[in-house]
Protein backbone atom coordinates (compact mmCIF):
# COMPACT_ATOMS: atom_id res chain seq x y z
CA UNK A 1 0.00 0.00 0.00
CA UNK A 2 2.94 2.33 -0.56
CA UNK A 3 1.61 5.59 -1.92
CA UNK A 4 2.99 6.12 -5.46
CA UNK A 5 1.43 9.60 -5.93
CA UNK A 6 3.30 12.49 -4.05
CA UNK A 7 1.01 11.69 -1.11
CA UNK A 8 -1.87 13.38 0.70
CA UNK A 9 -1.33 16.75 2.37
CA UNK A 10 0.65 16.88 5.63
CA UNK A 11 -1.60 16.94 8.69
CA UNK A 12 0.76 17.14 11.59
CA UNK A 13 4.36 18.33 11.71
CA UNK A 14 6.78 18.76 14.56
CA UNK A 15 10.13 20.56 14.22
CA UNK A 16 13.18 20.30 16.51
CA UNK A 17 11.24 18.78 19.43
CA UNK A 18 13.23 18.77 22.69
CA UNK A 19 12.07 17.51 26.07
CA UNK A 20 14.24 17.70 29.20
CA UNK A 21 13.42 16.16 32.58
CA UNK A 22 15.24 17.26 35.74
CA UNK A 23 16.02 14.08 37.64
CA UNK A 24 16.63 14.73 41.35
CA UNK A 25 19.68 12.86 42.63
CA UNK A 26 19.02 10.90 45.83
CA UNK A 27 19.26 12.81 49.11
CA UNK A 28 16.18 14.91 49.65
CA UNK A 29 15.31 18.38 48.38
CA UNK A 30 18.81 19.82 48.16
CA UNK A 31 20.46 17.08 46.08
CA UNK A 32 22.09 18.19 42.82
CA UNK A 33 19.68 18.06 39.88
CA UNK A 34 20.66 16.06 36.79
CA UNK A 35 19.03 17.07 33.50
CA UNK A 36 17.96 14.15 31.28
CA UNK A 37 17.24 14.97 27.64
CA UNK A 38 14.65 12.34 26.66
CA UNK A 39 13.88 13.91 23.24
CA UNK A 40 16.77 15.67 21.50
CA UNK A 41 15.70 17.51 18.34
CA UNK A 42 13.07 15.31 16.67
CA UNK A 43 11.14 16.14 13.48
CA UNK A 44 7.85 14.36 12.75
CA UNK A 45 5.61 14.55 9.66
CA UNK A 46 2.26 12.75 9.53
CA UNK A 47 0.20 12.75 6.34
CA UNK A 48 -3.60 12.46 6.21
CA UNK A 49 -4.92 8.88 6.15
CA UNK A 50 -1.44 7.47 6.69
CA UNK A 51 0.37 5.74 9.56
CA UNK A 52 3.78 7.00 10.73
CA UNK A 53 5.44 4.51 13.10
CA UNK A 54 7.91 5.71 15.73
CA UNK A 55 9.94 2.61 16.56
CA UNK A 56 12.77 2.16 19.05
CA UNK A 57 13.79 0.43 22.26
CA UNK A 58 12.90 1.55 25.79
CA UNK A 59 14.46 4.88 26.59
CA UNK A 60 14.58 5.90 22.91
CA UNK A 61 12.11 8.75 23.59
CA UNK A 62 9.39 7.49 21.25
CA UNK A 63 6.61 7.65 23.86
CA UNK A 64 7.74 11.07 25.07
CA UNK A 65 7.69 12.34 21.49
CA UNK A 66 4.13 11.05 21.06
CA UNK A 67 3.03 12.77 24.29
CA UNK A 68 4.66 16.03 23.13
CA UNK A 69 2.79 15.85 19.82
CA UNK A 70 -0.52 15.03 21.56
CA UNK A 71 0.13 17.99 23.91
CA UNK A 72 0.12 15.77 27.00
CA UNK A 73 3.56 17.09 27.89
CA UNK A 74 4.92 20.63 27.64
CA UNK A 75 7.66 21.05 25.02
CA UNK A 76 11.09 22.23 26.27
CA UNK A 77 11.67 23.64 22.78
CA UNK A 78 10.53 23.04 19.20
CA UNK A 79 7.14 23.50 17.54
CA UNK A 80 4.09 21.36 16.79
CA UNK A 81 1.84 22.33 13.90
CA UNK A 82 -1.54 20.84 13.16
CA UNK A 83 -3.16 21.60 9.79
CA UNK A 84 -0.77 24.54 9.46
CA UNK A 85 -1.55 26.22 12.80
CA UNK A 86 1.04 26.30 15.58
CA UNK A 87 -0.43 24.34 18.48
CA UNK A 88 2.73 24.23 20.65
CA UNK A 89 1.55 26.81 23.21
CA UNK A 90 -2.21 26.47 22.62
CA UNK A 91 -4.57 26.67 25.57
CA UNK A 92 -8.23 27.14 26.43
CA UNK A 93 -10.83 26.72 23.70
CA UNK A 94 -8.22 26.38 20.95
CA UNK A 95 -6.58 23.52 22.84
CA UNK A 96 -10.01 21.93 23.24
CA UNK A 97 -10.51 22.04 19.47
CA UNK A 98 -7.08 20.46 19.05
CA UNK A 99 -8.06 17.77 21.58
CA UNK A 100 -11.08 16.86 19.47
CA UNK A 101 -8.80 16.45 16.42
CA UNK A 102 -6.03 14.42 18.09
CA UNK A 103 -6.81 11.47 20.40
CA UNK A 104 -4.69 8.81 22.12
CA UNK A 105 -4.92 5.02 22.57
CA UNK A 106 -2.70 3.69 25.38
CA UNK A 107 -0.74 0.48 25.95
CA UNK A 108 -2.29 -1.19 28.97
CA UNK A 109 -6.01 -1.73 28.29
CA UNK A 110 -6.84 -2.06 32.01
CA UNK A 111 -4.77 0.92 33.17
CA UNK A 112 -6.14 3.24 30.49
CA UNK A 113 -9.81 2.60 31.33
CA UNK A 114 -11.26 3.85 34.62
CA UNK A 115 -12.17 0.64 36.49
CA UNK A 116 -15.15 2.35 38.16
CA UNK A 117 -16.76 3.61 34.91
CA UNK A 118 -19.04 1.71 32.56
CA UNK A 119 -18.20 1.48 28.84
CA UNK A 120 -20.82 4.15 28.14
CA UNK A 121 -19.25 6.62 30.59
CA UNK A 122 -15.76 5.90 29.23
CA UNK A 123 -16.68 6.29 25.58
CA UNK A 124 -18.77 9.44 25.99
CA UNK A 125 -16.29 11.07 28.38
CA UNK A 126 -14.24 12.89 25.69
CA UNK A 127 -17.40 14.63 24.41
CA UNK A 128 -18.45 15.52 27.96
CA UNK A 129 -14.98 16.85 28.78
CA UNK A 130 -15.02 19.03 25.68
CA UNK A 131 -18.45 20.31 26.58
CA UNK A 132 -20.00 18.82 23.44
CA UNK A 133 -23.39 17.09 23.43
CA UNK A 134 -23.49 13.36 22.75
CA UNK A 135 -25.14 13.03 19.31
CA UNK A 136 -28.22 10.78 19.47
CA UNK A 137 -28.03 10.23 23.22
CA UNK A 138 -25.35 8.37 25.19
CA UNK A 139 -26.85 4.86 24.91
CA UNK A 140 -27.33 4.89 21.10
CA UNK A 141 -24.03 6.65 20.50
CA UNK A 142 -22.17 4.08 22.62
CA UNK A 143 -23.87 1.12 20.93
CA UNK A 144 -23.01 2.34 17.43
CA UNK A 145 -19.40 3.02 18.43
CA UNK A 146 -19.08 -0.44 20.00
CA UNK A 147 -20.34 -2.05 16.80
CA UNK A 148 -17.81 -0.05 14.77
CA UNK A 149 -14.97 -1.50 16.83
CA UNK A 150 -16.38 -5.05 16.86
CA UNK A 151 -17.78 -5.17 20.41
CA UNK A 152 -21.16 -6.53 21.48
CA UNK A 153 -23.28 -3.37 21.98
CA UNK A 154 -25.33 -5.05 24.72
CA UNK A 155 -22.29 -4.80 27.01
CA UNK A 156 -22.34 -1.00 27.19
CA UNK A 157 -23.13 -1.04 30.94
CA UNK A 158 -20.23 -3.33 31.91
CA UNK A 159 -16.98 -2.38 33.64
CA UNK A 160 -13.54 -2.78 31.96
CA UNK A 161 -12.56 -5.71 34.20
CA UNK A 162 -15.39 -7.74 32.66
CA UNK A 163 -13.69 -7.67 29.22
CA UNK A 164 -10.70 -9.54 27.81
CA UNK A 165 -7.48 -7.61 26.99
CA UNK A 166 -8.34 -7.39 23.29
CA UNK A 167 -11.91 -6.24 23.97
CA UNK A 168 -10.74 -3.64 26.52
CA UNK A 169 -8.33 -2.24 23.94
CA UNK A 170 -11.23 -1.93 21.50
CA UNK A 171 -13.03 0.20 24.11
CA UNK A 172 -9.93 2.42 24.22
CA UNK A 173 -10.12 2.76 20.44
CA UNK A 174 -13.87 3.51 20.55
CA UNK A 175 -13.16 6.26 23.09
CA UNK A 176 -10.56 7.77 20.77
CA UNK A 177 -13.04 7.78 17.86
CA UNK A 178 -15.87 9.31 19.91
CA UNK A 179 -14.88 12.90 19.10
CA UNK A 180 -14.24 12.18 15.43
CA UNK A 181 -10.53 12.94 15.43
CA UNK A 182 -8.25 13.24 12.39
CA UNK A 183 -5.17 11.85 14.15
CA UNK A 184 -5.02 8.93 16.61
CA UNK A 185 -1.79 8.50 18.57
CA UNK A 186 -1.40 4.76 19.32
CA UNK A 187 1.15 4.47 22.14
CA UNK A 188 2.22 0.76 22.10
CA UNK A 189 -1.49 0.06 21.55
CA UNK A 190 -1.05 -3.66 20.77
CA UNK A 191 2.12 -4.46 22.75
CA UNK A 192 0.27 -5.84 25.78
CA UNK A 193 -1.90 -8.21 23.72
CA UNK A 194 -1.48 -11.89 22.79
CA UNK A 195 -0.51 -12.67 19.20
CA UNK A 196 -3.99 -13.76 18.09
CA UNK A 197 -5.73 -10.76 19.67
CA UNK A 198 -2.96 -8.44 18.47
CA UNK A 199 -3.71 -9.48 14.90
CA UNK A 200 -7.43 -8.72 15.35
CA UNK A 201 -6.74 -5.21 16.73
CA UNK A 202 -4.23 -4.46 13.94
CA UNK A 203 -6.85 -5.50 11.41
CA UNK A 204 -9.40 -3.26 13.12
CA UNK A 205 -7.05 -0.25 13.05
CA UNK A 206 -6.26 -0.83 9.37
CA UNK A 207 -9.96 -1.22 8.48
CA UNK A 208 -10.89 1.99 10.36
CA UNK A 209 -8.10 3.84 8.54
CA UNK A 210 -9.24 2.53 5.19
CA UNK A 211 -12.95 3.22 5.80
CA UNK A 212 -12.80 6.41 7.88
CA UNK A 213 -9.44 7.95 6.85
CA UNK A 214 -7.77 8.31 10.27
CA UNK A 215 -4.04 9.08 10.46
CA UNK A 216 -2.08 7.12 13.05
CA UNK A 217 1.08 8.09 14.92
CA UNK A 218 1.93 4.49 15.90
CA UNK A 219 4.49 4.01 18.72
CA UNK A 220 5.92 0.48 18.98
CA UNK A 221 9.03 -1.49 19.89
CA UNK A 222 8.01 -4.57 17.83
CA UNK A 223 9.32 -4.13 14.27
CA UNK A 224 7.13 -6.96 12.95
CA UNK A 225 3.97 -5.18 14.12
CA UNK A 226 5.26 -1.94 12.54
CA UNK A 227 5.80 -3.86 9.30
CA UNK A 228 2.07 -4.75 9.22
CA UNK A 229 0.60 -1.30 9.83
CA UNK A 230 2.99 1.55 8.98
CA UNK A 231 3.29 3.54 5.70
CA UNK A 232 6.36 5.45 6.92
CA UNK A 233 8.74 4.53 9.73
CA UNK A 234 10.97 6.71 11.93
CA UNK A 235 13.60 4.79 13.92
CA UNK A 236 14.52 6.44 17.23
CA UNK A 237 17.55 5.87 19.44
CA UNK A 238 18.48 7.82 22.62
CA UNK A 239 16.13 10.71 21.89
CA UNK A 240 16.98 11.18 18.21
CA UNK A 241 15.49 9.98 14.92
CA UNK A 242 18.34 8.04 13.29
CA UNK A 243 16.44 7.17 10.10
CA UNK A 244 13.08 7.83 8.46
CA UNK A 245 11.67 6.31 5.31
CA UNK A 246 8.91 4.43 3.58
CA UNK A 247 8.26 1.11 5.23
CA UNK A 248 9.32 -1.23 2.41
CA UNK A 249 12.44 0.79 1.58
CA UNK A 250 13.50 0.97 5.24
CA UNK A 251 12.89 -2.75 5.97
CA UNK A 252 14.45 -3.88 2.68
CA UNK A 253 17.60 -1.73 2.82
CA UNK A 254 18.13 0.04 6.16
CA UNK A 255 20.59 2.94 5.83
CA UNK A 256 21.60 3.48 9.47
CA UNK A 257 23.72 1.01 11.45
CA UNK A 258 21.35 1.11 14.42
CA UNK A 259 18.38 0.23 12.21
CA UNK A 260 20.37 -2.64 10.78
CA UNK A 261 21.29 -3.84 14.26
CA UNK A 262 17.66 -3.57 15.37
CA UNK A 263 16.39 -5.54 12.37
CA UNK A 264 19.09 -8.17 12.81
CA UNK A 265 18.21 -8.63 16.49
CA UNK A 266 14.52 -9.41 15.81
CA UNK A 267 13.97 -13.17 16.09
CA UNK A 268 12.54 -14.66 12.90
CA UNK A 269 10.85 -17.91 12.01
CA UNK A 270 13.24 -19.52 9.56
CA UNK A 271 12.27 -18.26 6.05
CA UNK A 272 12.49 -21.73 4.48
CA UNK A 273 10.08 -23.16 7.05
CA UNK A 274 7.78 -20.19 6.57
CA UNK A 275 7.81 -20.55 2.79
CA UNK A 276 7.05 -24.29 3.06
CA UNK A 277 4.14 -23.63 5.42
CA UNK A 278 2.60 -21.02 3.12
CA UNK A 279 3.02 -23.21 0.10
CA UNK A 280 1.13 -26.02 1.86
CA UNK A 281 -1.57 -23.54 2.99
CA UNK A 282 -2.06 -22.38 -0.62
CA UNK A 283 -2.31 -25.92 -1.98
CA UNK A 284 -4.92 -26.67 0.74
CA UNK A 285 -6.95 -23.60 -0.21
CA UNK A 286 -6.90 -24.37 -3.92
CA UNK A 287 -7.87 -27.98 -3.05
CA UNK A 288 -10.78 -26.69 -0.88
CA UNK A 289 -11.70 -24.22 -3.65
CA UNK A 290 -11.86 -27.07 -6.22
CA UNK A 291 -13.91 -29.24 -3.91
CA UNK A 292 -16.47 -26.46 -3.41
CA UNK A 293 -16.88 -25.75 -7.12
CA UNK A 294 -17.33 -29.40 -8.20
Amino acid sequence: MTPAVPGPQVLLTARGLVKEFSVRGQGGAFARKRVLRAVDGVDVELRAGQTLALVGESGSGKSTTARLVARLLEVTSGTVEFQGDDVTRLSGAALHRFRSEVQVVFQDPYSSLNPRHTVERIVTAPLVYQGRSVPGGARAFTRSLMERVGLNPDHSERHPAQFSGGQAQRIGIARALAVGPKVVVCDEAVSALDVSVQAQVINLLRRLQREEGYSYLFIAHDLAVVRQIAHRVAVMHQGRVVETGDRDALFASPAHDYTRALLAAVPRIRPEWEAARRARARTRETADGKRETT
Binding site: E57, D194, R227, W273
Partner: protein, 294 residues
Protein backbone atom coordinates in the same frame (compact mmCIF):
# COMPACT_ATOMS: atom_id res chain seq x y z
CA UNK B 1 8.62 -46.33 30.14
CA UNK B 2 12.38 -46.14 29.61
CA UNK B 3 13.66 -48.74 27.17
CA UNK B 4 16.05 -51.19 28.77
CA UNK B 5 19.76 -50.36 28.34
CA UNK B 6 19.00 -46.97 26.83
CA UNK B 7 19.99 -44.06 29.09
CA UNK B 8 16.73 -42.66 30.65
CA UNK B 9 15.38 -39.39 29.13
CA UNK B 10 16.49 -36.24 30.98
CA UNK B 11 12.91 -35.26 31.78
CA UNK B 12 9.69 -37.27 31.55
CA UNK B 13 6.32 -35.69 32.33
CA UNK B 14 3.26 -37.97 32.28
CA UNK B 15 -0.45 -37.03 32.76
CA UNK B 16 0.42 -33.78 34.51
CA UNK B 17 -2.66 -32.04 35.91
CA UNK B 18 -2.69 -28.77 37.87
CA UNK B 19 -5.89 -27.29 39.30
CA UNK B 20 -6.37 -23.88 40.90
CA UNK B 21 -9.22 -23.03 43.29
CA UNK B 22 -10.95 -19.78 42.25
CA UNK B 23 -14.10 -18.12 43.63
CA UNK B 24 -15.93 -19.50 40.58
CA UNK B 25 -14.78 -23.08 41.34
CA UNK B 26 -11.64 -25.07 40.53
CA UNK B 27 -9.97 -24.35 37.19
CA UNK B 28 -7.79 -27.00 35.49
CA UNK B 29 -4.77 -24.93 34.52
CA UNK B 30 -2.80 -27.91 33.11
CA UNK B 31 -4.70 -30.90 31.69
CA UNK B 32 -3.11 -34.31 31.01
CA UNK B 33 0.14 -32.89 29.79
CA UNK B 34 2.91 -35.34 28.78
CA UNK B 35 6.28 -34.94 27.09
CA UNK B 36 9.87 -36.11 27.33
CA UNK B 37 13.17 -34.30 26.86
CA UNK B 38 16.37 -36.17 25.95
CA UNK B 39 19.63 -35.31 27.80
CA UNK B 40 21.07 -32.11 26.26
CA UNK B 41 17.92 -31.72 24.18
CA UNK B 42 15.76 -28.57 24.02
CA UNK B 43 12.00 -28.19 24.06
CA UNK B 44 10.06 -24.95 23.60
CA UNK B 45 6.62 -24.73 25.22
CA UNK B 46 4.70 -21.98 23.44
CA UNK B 47 1.25 -20.64 24.14
CA UNK B 48 -0.70 -17.47 24.78
CA UNK B 49 -1.72 -15.96 28.13
CA UNK B 50 -3.53 -18.41 30.35
CA UNK B 51 -2.41 -21.43 28.34
CA UNK B 52 -0.81 -22.92 31.48
CA UNK B 53 2.76 -22.98 30.19
CA UNK B 54 4.26 -21.21 33.21
CA UNK B 55 2.29 -23.41 35.60
CA UNK B 56 3.81 -26.44 33.90
CA UNK B 57 7.36 -25.26 34.62
CA UNK B 58 6.48 -24.41 38.24
CA UNK B 59 4.83 -27.82 38.66
CA UNK B 60 8.00 -29.58 37.46
CA UNK B 61 10.09 -27.59 39.95
CA UNK B 62 7.56 -28.17 42.74
CA UNK B 63 7.13 -24.41 43.16
CA UNK B 64 3.35 -24.27 42.74
CA UNK B 65 1.59 -21.87 45.12
CA UNK B 66 0.24 -23.69 48.20
CA UNK B 67 -3.40 -23.49 47.05
CA UNK B 68 -2.75 -25.29 43.76
CA UNK B 69 -3.05 -29.09 43.53
CA UNK B 70 -0.99 -31.25 41.14
CA UNK B 71 -1.18 -34.86 39.94
CA UNK B 72 0.76 -36.95 37.43
CA UNK B 73 4.44 -38.00 37.33
CA UNK B 74 7.63 -36.04 36.77
CA UNK B 75 10.87 -38.00 36.34
CA UNK B 76 14.34 -36.45 36.07
CA UNK B 77 16.93 -38.81 34.52
CA UNK B 78 14.77 -41.77 35.53
CA UNK B 79 14.29 -40.57 39.12
CA UNK B 80 10.70 -39.99 40.22
CA UNK B 81 10.34 -36.37 41.52
CA UNK B 82 6.62 -36.03 42.17
CA UNK B 83 6.74 -38.50 45.07
CA UNK B 84 9.64 -36.83 46.89
CA UNK B 85 9.24 -34.97 50.15
CA UNK B 86 9.99 -31.25 50.00
CA UNK B 87 13.35 -31.87 51.68
CA UNK B 88 14.39 -34.43 49.03
CA UNK B 89 13.05 -32.27 46.19
CA UNK B 90 15.07 -29.33 47.51
CA UNK B 91 18.29 -31.24 46.94
CA UNK B 92 17.36 -31.49 43.23
CA UNK B 93 16.07 -27.94 42.87
CA UNK B 94 18.80 -25.48 42.02
CA UNK B 95 21.31 -28.33 41.66
CA UNK B 96 20.13 -30.72 38.93
CA UNK B 97 17.38 -28.39 37.64
CA UNK B 98 17.88 -24.61 37.62
CA UNK B 99 15.37 -21.96 36.65
CA UNK B 100 15.49 -18.48 35.12
CA UNK B 101 12.42 -16.27 35.47
CA UNK B 102 10.79 -13.55 33.41
CA UNK B 103 11.10 -10.32 35.38
CA UNK B 104 14.79 -9.74 36.20
CA UNK B 105 13.96 -6.72 38.41
CA UNK B 106 11.77 -8.55 40.92
CA UNK B 107 13.49 -11.96 40.74
CA UNK B 108 16.57 -10.75 42.62
CA UNK B 109 16.39 -9.77 46.29
CA UNK B 110 17.03 -6.00 46.52
CA UNK B 111 18.55 -6.30 50.01
CA UNK B 112 21.52 -8.50 49.07
CA UNK B 113 24.42 -8.08 46.63
CA UNK B 114 24.29 -10.22 43.47
CA UNK B 115 27.44 -12.01 44.69
CA UNK B 116 25.75 -13.12 47.89
CA UNK B 117 22.76 -14.42 45.97
CA UNK B 118 24.90 -16.42 43.55
CA UNK B 119 27.03 -17.83 46.37
CA UNK B 120 23.84 -18.84 48.17
CA UNK B 121 22.77 -20.99 45.19
CA UNK B 122 26.17 -22.69 45.17
CA UNK B 123 26.49 -23.23 48.90
CA UNK B 124 22.95 -24.67 49.09
CA UNK B 125 24.22 -27.77 47.23
CA UNK B 126 27.88 -27.99 48.15
CA UNK B 127 28.96 -28.88 51.70
CA UNK B 128 31.96 -27.38 53.48
CA UNK B 129 32.43 -24.48 51.11
CA UNK B 130 34.40 -21.59 52.54
CA UNK B 131 33.18 -18.08 51.98
CA UNK B 132 36.22 -17.32 49.81
CA UNK B 133 35.61 -20.36 47.60
CA UNK B 134 31.95 -19.48 47.15
CA UNK B 135 32.84 -15.92 46.25
CA UNK B 136 35.35 -17.12 43.66
CA UNK B 137 32.64 -19.35 42.12
CA UNK B 138 30.30 -16.33 42.00
CA UNK B 139 32.85 -14.16 40.21
CA UNK B 140 33.64 -16.96 37.76
CA UNK B 141 29.95 -17.53 37.06
CA UNK B 142 29.50 -13.82 36.36
CA UNK B 143 32.49 -13.84 34.00
CA UNK B 144 31.06 -16.89 32.25
CA UNK B 145 27.95 -14.88 31.38
CA UNK B 146 30.15 -11.99 30.13
CA UNK B 147 29.47 -9.49 32.94
CA UNK B 148 32.35 -6.99 32.62
CA UNK B 149 34.47 -6.21 35.70
CA UNK B 150 32.85 -9.10 37.58
CA UNK B 151 35.33 -8.95 40.47
CA UNK B 152 34.06 -5.48 41.39
CA UNK B 153 30.45 -5.81 40.38
CA UNK B 154 29.96 -8.94 42.46
CA UNK B 155 29.43 -6.63 45.46
CA UNK B 156 26.88 -4.41 43.72
CA UNK B 157 23.15 -4.56 44.44
CA UNK B 158 20.53 -5.62 41.85
CA UNK B 159 19.18 -2.06 41.43
CA UNK B 160 22.63 -1.07 40.08
CA UNK B 161 22.25 -3.41 37.06
CA UNK B 162 20.27 -2.98 33.84
CA UNK B 163 17.50 -5.46 32.93
CA UNK B 164 19.77 -7.38 30.57
CA UNK B 165 22.60 -7.52 33.11
CA UNK B 166 20.27 -8.76 35.84
CA UNK B 167 19.10 -11.56 33.58
CA UNK B 168 22.75 -12.51 33.06
CA UNK B 169 23.11 -12.66 36.86
CA UNK B 170 20.10 -15.01 36.99
CA UNK B 171 21.71 -17.25 34.38
CA UNK B 172 25.03 -17.17 36.27
CA UNK B 173 23.14 -18.17 39.41
CA UNK B 174 21.55 -21.09 37.58
CA UNK B 175 24.87 -22.24 36.07
CA UNK B 176 27.08 -22.30 39.11
CA UNK B 177 25.84 -25.78 40.15
CA UNK B 178 26.25 -27.21 36.62
CA UNK B 179 22.57 -28.31 36.35
CA UNK B 180 21.48 -31.04 33.90
CA UNK B 181 18.30 -29.13 32.97
CA UNK B 182 17.74 -25.39 32.62
CA UNK B 183 14.13 -24.16 32.68
CA UNK B 184 13.71 -20.60 31.33
CA UNK B 185 10.24 -19.09 31.85
CA UNK B 186 9.87 -16.16 29.41
CA UNK B 187 13.54 -15.16 30.03
CA UNK B 188 13.59 -12.31 27.50
CA UNK B 189 9.99 -11.06 27.42
CA UNK B 190 10.78 -8.05 29.63
CA UNK B 191 13.89 -7.11 27.60
CA UNK B 192 14.48 -4.89 24.57
CA UNK B 193 14.98 -6.75 21.29
CA UNK B 194 18.78 -6.10 21.03
CA UNK B 195 19.29 -7.22 24.66
CA UNK B 196 17.01 -10.22 24.06
CA UNK B 197 19.22 -11.31 21.17
CA UNK B 198 22.29 -11.23 23.44
CA UNK B 199 20.57 -13.23 26.20
CA UNK B 200 19.31 -15.85 23.72
CA UNK B 201 22.82 -16.17 22.28
CA UNK B 202 24.14 -16.57 25.83
CA UNK B 203 21.63 -19.34 26.56
CA UNK B 204 22.66 -21.22 23.41
CA UNK B 205 26.36 -20.75 24.24
CA UNK B 206 25.80 -21.99 27.80
CA UNK B 207 23.98 -25.09 26.57
CA UNK B 208 26.78 -25.98 24.18
CA UNK B 209 29.34 -25.45 26.94
CA UNK B 210 27.61 -27.45 29.69
CA UNK B 211 25.47 -29.88 27.64
CA UNK B 212 22.48 -29.01 29.83
CA UNK B 213 18.97 -29.60 28.49
CA UNK B 214 16.74 -26.54 27.94
CA UNK B 215 13.03 -26.16 28.59
CA UNK B 216 12.07 -22.75 27.17
CA UNK B 217 8.64 -21.28 28.03
CA UNK B 218 7.56 -18.36 25.83
CA UNK B 219 4.69 -16.80 23.94
CA UNK B 220 7.02 -15.73 21.07
CA UNK B 221 6.93 -18.26 18.20
CA UNK B 222 9.89 -16.61 16.49
CA UNK B 223 12.08 -17.03 19.60
CA UNK B 224 11.12 -20.71 19.83
CA UNK B 225 11.92 -21.30 16.17
CA UNK B 226 15.45 -19.98 16.76
CA UNK B 227 16.14 -21.64 20.10
CA UNK B 228 14.73 -25.17 20.48
CA UNK B 229 14.83 -28.40 18.47
CA UNK B 230 11.38 -29.54 19.67
CA UNK B 231 8.20 -27.42 20.11
CA UNK B 232 5.04 -28.08 22.09
CA UNK B 233 2.03 -25.81 21.55
CA UNK B 234 -0.28 -25.36 24.55
CA UNK B 235 -3.78 -23.98 24.66
CA UNK B 236 -6.19 -23.85 27.61
CA UNK B 237 -3.87 -26.07 29.68
CA UNK B 238 -3.49 -28.87 27.12
CA UNK B 239 -0.98 -29.79 24.44
CA UNK B 240 -2.49 -29.27 21.00
CA UNK B 241 0.58 -30.24 18.99
CA UNK B 242 4.12 -31.41 19.57
CA UNK B 243 6.80 -31.84 16.88
CA UNK B 244 10.31 -30.95 15.85
CA UNK B 245 10.65 -27.23 15.18
CA UNK B 246 11.17 -27.88 11.51
CA UNK B 247 8.07 -30.03 11.14
CA UNK B 248 5.86 -27.77 13.27
CA UNK B 249 6.82 -24.51 11.54
CA UNK B 250 6.82 -25.87 8.00
CA UNK B 251 3.80 -28.22 8.26
CA UNK B 252 1.57 -27.31 11.24
CA UNK B 253 -1.23 -29.89 11.59
CA UNK B 254 -3.54 -28.51 14.33
CA UNK B 255 -5.88 -25.64 13.26
CA UNK B 256 -4.93 -23.61 16.37
CA UNK B 257 -1.22 -23.89 15.50
CA UNK B 258 -1.97 -22.87 11.93
CA UNK B 259 -4.06 -19.89 13.00
CA UNK B 260 -1.39 -18.88 15.53
CA UNK B 261 1.34 -18.98 12.86
CA UNK B 262 -0.86 -16.98 10.51
CA UNK B 263 -1.46 -14.35 13.19
CA UNK B 264 2.27 -13.79 13.84
CA UNK B 265 3.24 -10.48 12.18
CA UNK B 266 6.33 -11.09 10.05
CA UNK B 267 9.23 -8.90 9.09
CA UNK B 268 9.84 -10.06 5.59
CA UNK B 269 6.68 -9.12 3.78
CA UNK B 270 3.24 -7.63 3.81
CA UNK B 271 0.64 -10.01 5.11
CA UNK B 272 -2.87 -9.54 3.84
CA UNK B 273 -5.74 -9.57 6.23
CA UNK B 274 -4.15 -11.34 9.23
CA UNK B 275 -6.20 -14.51 9.70
CA UNK B 276 -7.33 -14.51 13.27
CA UNK B 277 -7.70 -17.43 15.63
CA UNK B 278 -11.32 -18.62 15.86
CA UNK B 279 -13.26 -20.47 18.48
CA UNK B 280 -12.32 -20.66 22.15
CA UNK B 281 -9.80 -18.20 23.49
CA UNK B 282 -6.37 -19.50 24.62
CA UNK B 283 -7.18 -19.60 28.33
CA UNK B 284 -8.76 -22.65 30.05
CA UNK B 285 -11.69 -20.78 31.57
CA UNK B 286 -12.92 -19.88 28.09
CA UNK B 287 -14.91 -16.81 29.09
CA UNK B 288 -12.25 -15.63 31.52
CA UNK B 289 -10.38 -12.51 30.66
CA UNK B 290 -6.95 -13.09 29.17
CA UNK B 291 -4.85 -12.29 32.19
CA UNK B 292 -1.31 -11.25 31.46
CA UNK B 293 -0.01 -14.61 32.64
CA UNK B 294 1.77 -14.90 29.29
Amino acid sequence: MTAIGKTPPLLEVEELNVTFPTPQGAVDVVRDLGFTLEPGGSLGIVGESGSGKSMTSLAIMGLLPPRATMSGRVRLAGRELSGLTDRQLRRVRGDRIAMVFQDPLSSLNPYYTVGTQIEEAYRAHRQRVTRRQARRVAVEAMERVHIADAARRVDHYPHQFSGGMRQRVMIAMALCTEPDLLIADEPTTALDVTVQAQILRLLTEVRQETGAGLLLITHDLAVVSEMTEEVLVMRAGACVERASAERLFSDPRHPYTRALLDAVPRLDDEVGELRTVHGRGPSPAAGATEGDER
